[in-house]
Symmetry: C2
Subunit: 130 residues, 2 copies
């Protein structure tokens, strides 16, 4: 798929994305959508939670694995997990007693591709940045 | 350089970074540092400003190029540019009447590498994600 065929950024389908911002300016709608995802990443506890989930063995983490490392209350952790989920960065499922979380790779890939630096763009052929 | 040798995230030197968060959890200091950069990206106008600068011909943009596309006042644009600069995402220099802005590629690369998705990690050898 060439970059000319990429759909408008900011669509619900996070997979169908993203041309690096060094290649073309963002439109209003795409910027609004992406800003929400970056807002979810703008808190240190949320960033650490996301990295704990992302790097957890098997690619998913029980909420019971996620409270120990933090000096904040369980309800605060739950709130941060909700923000990550609502931003489309993690998925979750209840299994028995616990809720399990995993990162949504397409969402990370979307943001990562958007932020590709000019030298990375020069090194990667169009459409090859997944 | 292997990933075992990577310095602690969150150091001033943005080039010396970043192991993807799917590979290892972020430390507190690194998360605090990165959260500030993501906070700068969490506003739609700032995201559009950054993408306008990044995609501008020659890799830099005069502030006079950056006010036209927005429905906000010049002081608001200046404030957003200051936030981007203080977050280490853009550099700037006054030349005569105008201030010129350019993106700092190492900062973008740092965030882009951090957010690499699991499938991208699998496809790229360690240390080859620049």
């Amino acid at each position: 798929m060439s970059n000319l065929e990429l759909p408008v950024l900011g669509q619900d389908d996070a997979v169908a994305c993203c041309s690096p911002m060094v290649r073309e300016p963002l439109g209003e709608e795409a910027a609004a959508d992406l800003a929400k995802m970056f807002k979810a990443l703008s808190d240190p506890v949320r960033l650490r939670l996301l990295s704990l989930i992302a790097s957890h063995e098997g690619g998913e983490a029980c909420v019971c694995d996620l409270t120990g490392p933090f000096d904040v209350s369980q309800p605060t952790i739950s709130h941060h997990l909700k923000v990550l989920r609502e931003a489309g960065l993690v998925g979750s499922e209840r299994r028995g007693t616990w809720v399990y979380y995993w990162v949504l790779p397409a969402a990370l890939a979307k943001l990562s591709a958007l932020l590709q630096a000019p030298d990375a763009i020069a090194a990667v052929p169009a459409g090859g940045a997944r």
